[in-house]
Symmetry: none
Subunit: 414 residues, 2 copies
């Protein structure tokens, strides 16, 4: 069962847009044990698209095309598909009616360009789009299937995860089972070295390490009718070896785990952020329902704000510096006192590119966490990377510190 | 002059690694007015690489291959190149001597694997590698040129920027010029419809629309000795038609534009965020040096926080609802008063997926902006999309509202 991906859009070739869709499709296929055989990026050019689709259909059982389904003139994917499959675009009144009803409900103006989104190849199957206006399109011929999805990640992703990958997996009769764990605080090398004895012992289970700025996901895979029986003893042993690094035995963000922990404990949280500048609050409130536990966030980027918003003693800041243990502690305590929340996280550090010194280089970050009725804890970490990476990693370290404290585990590693 | 890029590596297809090399090569070519015609990702498979190189050489004048030049057994690019060009790999004593001398100077142990790096196609030209051990390789035949570079970004990038792109640009005598504008608040459809008369009038200028959750970038391109003379009158007319939507006549984020405007005016800013939950503060502080103008951020996700942190009257919230004009106004005014900043942005809305009503559906957002000595302004917008998209778009609308006010323009459109 071969799958190829054609990503369409000049922006992918002109250095403007990272091809995150290719990453996403590859990852979703890998989760069910399938591999993308090839990925091709081409511009919004009718003839080039026609040629590329024909070539891919000659090699692959499934061809996924992303991009070029919008209503403007450079969105030519539908015309190219119609040409390849020799099925004209016809007007679908029901599609237009649905779009108009959705726009009316959302109180949005209805553009004449919506009509274009109702022009679709004859005898196609459609995948709904809850976010945007372009439907996913499925066309099959001679045992080969072409799937077209929008290029906008938020529109494309649910179509891939909920409709396309399950369908390919079913047809491929894949027997591979995978389990993905999310870790924070350990490097890829450390995870690998720690798991190494297990890898030698269980040759039937393969392990992949998927690093990102936020941590390493570890994916275990086994195939065949025995897949579950192979995976279970493996993960039991793995849990003992790398357990302290695993923040979830699934593929989710740390912000969602914190949300669950706080909800279970009926606790509320406030944030006090300096160098992360709102990133931790942003991440926590990415999770629907976060209003149940995120009470308040204080972005105290300036020293005056640390004093005004959190009551940090200006003399303390002058004496110790804004990036210091006592200031982090005072921020966490101040946020607890002023917000009335049950617990807090505070972060102050040097994200760079400027502001580093010999003693406190760029990447120096102090974390603090206050919990009602418990001792406030602090922790110094040193992070590598550019400004964005340091901010991301600092947000992750802070969330992980709170997670470990809520679980009454030591906050030793980072 | 056509250029294609073949990126080699299973990690690019399995959802492990974002293809940043494709972005880099595209960007470097775009900087000299060249466009990557196609990018292909394939696994480390000898036969697949041979086939892909042959196909690309049949279409393109230049084919760049990245990845698979390392010394381990799955790095098969050199063998594939040798096959395509029918030139055997021969041992180059001078290459090995150079590598050994470099390793000796750096006091690094010399591995037998270095020998593999001295095996190179006959009659090739080499590009030095100051970082790693794999040389870049250039082979030409029948007017087509193949260039192979390592996949490791810090080894590949100097080869592309310093050797390869200058050489292609010289041979191509490139004449294309591009201009990219960043817009906010208008849909791709509206931009297209508004520019349509201009597109018909100026057939020599091409326009691409590059949409993202934050807005649409519009790129104008023209070629030939006349490129500038073609682009200038076009952009002058375009400025009149879509000017209100253009927040920068370059490709940058709105947070950077706000930073410039505040710096020029020596003004400071505070944020009052409900549904965006810290996202606006996070975006502004993504910009290095933001500490000069971002004073404080209040993430007042809970109603109590709106009262405690910003002094919003709880009876007002009870009477009007947290998502309402008077509450947005009170948040902006409260942030101005409490932070001492020169201006503020406040956002309160329903990001979903829950919390919507018939009267205030998901996507309903109230914005407010207070500026010292001026009337506070408010604005209701309705946004489409999932939670993340509504939050991103609300942050963009709020930043754009502030931008227009700082420029004394009307804040009419969104």
């Amino acid at each position: 069962m071969t799958v190829e991906l054609i990503t369409i859009g000049a922006e992918l070739l002109s250095g403007h847009t990272l091809n995150t869709n290719a990453l996403y499709v590859g990852d979703q296929l890998a989760k069910v044990g399938l591999t993308l055989a090839r990925q091709i990026a081409i511009p919004d050019d009718h003839d080039v698209i026609v040629e590329a689709i024909r070539e891919s259909l000659a090699r692959a059982d499934w061809v996924i095309v992303s991009g070029g389904l919008g209503p403007t003139n450079d969105d030519v994917t539908k015309k190219a598909i119609a040409r390849v499959f020799d099925r004209p675009l016809i007007f679908h009144q029901d599609i237009l009616d649905n779009l108009k009803a959705r726009f009316a409900r959302a109180k949005r103006p209805i553009s004449a360009l919506l009509d274009t989104q109702a022009l679709q190849p004859r005898d196609a199957e459609f995948i709904p789009n809850a976010v945007g206006t372009a439907l996913g399109i499925i066309l099959s011929d001679k045992g080969r299937t072409l799937i077209a999805v929008p290029g906008v990640p938020r529109e494309m992703q649910p179509m891939i995860a909920d409709h396309i990958v399950p369908r390919i997996a079913e047809q491929a009769r894949v027997t591979t089972q995978t389990i993905t764990w999310s870790t924070a605080g350990w490097t890829e090398s450390r995870l690998y070295e720690t798991l190494e004895p297990l890898l030698e012992k269980h040759a039937d289970v393969s392990v992949a390490f998927l690093p990102s700025a936020l941590g390493v996901r570890v994916r275990f895979a086994a195939s065949g009718a025995d897949a579950t029986r192979l995976l279970n003893p493996f993960t039991e042993e793995a849990r003992i070896l790398i357990g302290p690094a695993v923040y979830a035995e699934e593929d989710i963000g740390l912000e969602a785990v914190i949300g669950r922990l706080l909800t279970e404990r009926q606790m509320t949280l406030a944030l006090a952020e300096s160098c992360t500048g709102g990133l931790i609050a942003k991440r926590l409130t990415d999770v629907p329902g976060a209003s149940a536990y995120v009470v308040a966030g204080y972005v105290t980027y300036a020293n005056e704000a640390k004093t005004d918003l959190l009551g940090v003693d200006p003399e303390l800041i002058a004496a110790q510096g804004a990036v210091s243990e006592p200031v982090a502690r005072a921020m966490a305590d101040g946020a607890l006192r002023r917000s009335g929340a049950d617990c807090t996280i505070a972060v102050t550090g040097i994200a760079g590119p400027d502001g580093g010194t010999e003693e406190k280089p760029v990447g120096t970050v102090w974390l603090a966490s206050a919990i009602k009725g418990r001792e406030t804890e602090t922790k110094e970490i040193h992070l590598l990377g550019n400004r964005q990476m340091i901010r991301l990693r600092a947000s992750q370290a802070a969330l992980n510190m709170l997670r470990l404290r809520l679980l009454n585990q030591t906050t030793g590693d980072w």
